[in-house]
């Protein structure tokens, strides 16, 4: 397949039916089809609309605080030895992660549709907080669906959402994590289809979501590309980002896909190790199937039942992945690897102590692989890591894992 990859290929997906090769699509109940068609039409109208784009850009500049810096982690690079490591500082965005780029965009769409109620699913709570934030700003009613297990391990973000005026709905079905939160959000959406806009937090779900979330997040890669050229005079040799659903990774990767010399690594949650089966790495160890409106790589058993996942990070604890990643894997454009819980924790501590930057546990997976990769490269090469979120939300989890009572 790799031989057929031409630069033009990347601008052809998704096709009109929402396909990235054999992945993607609109695998949803009939009740949702007309809402998806409306969203598709609206987005087609607004996508290249100058007024809409400048409204989006203005919000990103003045409300989110973009552009985010591209910071050279020189001390970490010295410590590792090898390639220069640059961090795309999405942790410095308003609300502390890349998630807000997308919620700003989708909230503008909701406003254009005249919807008064927004819903969102969340795992680590970053997308929930980013949704609650834009809802507060626009005066929209907001309901965030969150697995009972995640509510326990992300208590700080739950309280942040409540302070912002959102209703946090505890999901007690299935594995009580992100996958079940998404099921419940879909159920709420079919029940309140007339007045509700569903703000999906990642590049998964039915078409057009994987496309529009990618487009909103691509600001990350566009900035990083320009910043690399301006700061170093060349493009990076490699990009690294963590992949749960995959929105921060697509955001960084997408504007570089046509740059054939830029290698890309998506880092999944290896949990307790791929060989244990207790992980959340469908691209590394899964098979294609259909879940949450799209065909993609999944963690499933031989009967097509979705498996429980495990990761130290709630935001990566998801058995599926965005369909574009599945396609990028199959055509060989992006390499997908896994970092396990212990490696991520070690990377969390290293970045905190060496650079004074505390990454989210999700992001720490990307750091763990970037360090390994940097060590195999030379000092005249450079890596850009998407520092997708800050770690404040995770300090209680880290303390507990380190056996410390806070």
């Amino acid at each position: 397949m790799t031989s057929e990859v031409t630069p033009e290929l990347f601008s052809t997906v998704p096709d009109a039916s929402g396909r990235f090769g054999r992945f993607g699509g609109k695998f949803v109940a009939e009740t949702l089809m007309s809402a998806l068609a409306d969203l598709e039409q609206l987005y087609a109208d607004l996508k290249d609309d100058k007024a809409f784009q400048s409204e989006f850009d203005l919000d990103l500049a003045h409300y989110v605080g973009r552009p985010s810096p591209l910071y050279e982690a020189a001390r970490l690079s010295d410590h590792i030895g090898g390639a220069r490591i640059f961090l795309k500082r999405e942790d410095l965005n308003h609300t502390g992660a890349h998630k807000v780029n997308n919620t700003i965009g989708q909230a503008l769409l909701a406003k254009h549709m005249g919807k008064k109620r927004v819903i969102a699913e969340t795992g680590a709570g970053q997308h929930g907080v980013a949704s609650a934030t834009v809802a507060a700003r626009l005066g929209l009613e907001c309901h965030v669906f969150m697995g009972e297990e995640d509510i326990r391990r992300q208590a700080l973000n739950v309280y942040r959402m409540k302070l912002l005026g959102a209703h946090v709905v505890s999901v007690t079905s299935g594995s009580r994590t992100l996958k079940d939160a998404m099921n419940e959000a879909m159920r709420d959406w079919v029940t309140h289809i007339d007045d509700t806009f569903y703000i999906i937090g990642t590049v998964a779900g039915p078409h057009p979501y994987p496309m529009l979330v990618r487009d909103f997040q691509s600001v990350i890669g566009r900035e990083a590309r320009a910043q690399s050229l301006a700061q170093t005079g060349k493009l990076p040799d490699a990009l690294v980002a963590c992949v749960g659903g995959g929105s921060n990774a697509i955001g960084l990767f997408h504007p570089f896909l046509q740059d054939a010399d830029v290698a890309m690594y998506g880092v999944e949650a290896g949990g307790k190790g791929l060989e244990t089966g207790e992980h959340a790495a469908p691209l590394s160890a899964g098979t294609p199937g259909v879940l949450h409106g799209n065909r993609t790589y999944l963690m499933q058993d031989e009967h097509g039942q979705i498996l429980d996942t495990h990761s130290v990070s709630a935001g990566l604890d998801y058995p599926g992945v965005g369909p574009e990643h599945s396609w990028l894997k199959d055509i060989g454009r992006v390499q997908y690897v896994a970092a396990n819980d212990d490696e991520a924790l070690a990377a969390f501590h290293r970045l905190t102590r060496i650079e004074g930057i505390m990454p989210a546990l999700e992001t720490a997976h990307a750091m763990a692989h970037a360090e390994k990769l940097a060590a195999t490269m030379s000092p005249d090469q450079q890596i850009v890591v998407n520092l997708s979120g800050r770690g404040d939300k995770d300090i209680l989890t880290v303390a507990a894992l380190d056996g410390i009572e806070v």
């Binding site: 009939e30 007309s34 079905s173 099921n183 159920r187 007339d194 199937g289 031989e302 979705i306």
Partner: protein, 274 residues
């Protein structure tokens, strides 16, 4: 003529309306499902709808979700459901069986292999909640090749032009979803259902069954006035769940809850003047 075609033709000739119970295969117990199906036929079911358990049943309300969870905890899977249909067919060659579920277990089984296995087991039709017309080509071709009906859902949000597209490729019957929402939820608006069914009947001669929101004899009777058949699911499963809560409840007692409700729905439908 297919079993579904024969049953609906018989109903029309007798000027009667159909009753279609939905139960989840393997719930409350895998050993009891086949006898439950026979009991439901004896209680007046014209067509049987069998839910295929899935880990992520996104269109189901809490009652049917729990049914799926119990069935999976009992080790149920798609092959086992097909086996149940084969066993049922040994004693009942007449009652059509429609399987209702989600795409992923079928994808995993393989569309073509699945259609063949359905034909061998004696399945008559398939409803796959997350395969709307846009995604249905592959399985529809496989089902047609073995003479099975793919049954489409039409929801309250389906625009009229789209209804025409759907009925043009539908076989067996049309499943008209009565409420915006998941199974077992919402208040049934009989007038809205009547208008919807009339619209659909204006576009196709296929029978129209109405489901989602039918709970008892009176709601079934009201819907049967305007539709060709009523589907009842959550209410049956809720009855069995309630009976199962009693200590040492026997399988006969647990099934009895659903059977009694179905008998009452049958009378409600039969008393409904059409």
């Amino acid at each position: 003529m297919s079993r579904l075609g024969a049953v609906f033709q018989g109903l029309r000739e007798q000027n009667r309306k159909g009753v279609i119970p939905y139960v989840v295969a393997g719930d409350p117990s895998p050993d009891g499902t086949v006898s439950l199906l026979h009991q439901l036929v004896a209680a007046g079911a014209d067509v049987l709808e069998i839910g295929v358990p899935f880990s992520d049943p996104m269109s189901e309300g809490p009652i049917i979700q729990k049914g799926h969870e119990r069935a999976l905890a009992n080790g149920m899977n798609l092959s086992a459901v097909l086996e149940m249909v084969s066993v049922f067919r040994r004693d009942d060659q007449r009652t059509p069986i429609v399987m209702m579920g989600y795409a992923n277990p079928i994808e995993r089984f393989g569309y073509s292999a699945f259609a063949d296995a359905c034909a061998v087991a004696g399945v008559d039709g398939l409803i796959t909640v997350d395969l709307p017309p846009e995604e249905v080509d592959e399985i529809d071709a496989a089902l047609q090749a073995v003479g099975l009906d793919n049954i489409f859902l039409i929801s309250p949000t389906t625009p009229e032009a789209r209804i025409q597209t759907i009925v043009d490729r539908a076989r067996g019957f049309i499943y008209c979803v009565a409420v915006k929402g998941v199974t077992g939820s919402g208040q049934l608006d009989t007038d809205a259902v009547a208008a919807r069914v009339a619209t659909i009947q204006g576009m196709t001669t296929l029978p129209v069954a109405v489901g989602f929101g039918i709970k008892d004899a009176s709601s079934a009777s009201a819907v049967a006035k305007v539709a060709d058949a009523v589907v009842v699911g959550s209410a049956l499963i809720a009855e069995m769940e309630a009976m199962g809560r009693a200590e040492n409840a026997s399988e006969i007692q647990i099934h009895g809850g659903a059977v009694k409700l179905l008998q009452s729905i049958r009378s409600g439908v039969d008393s409904s003047p059409s």
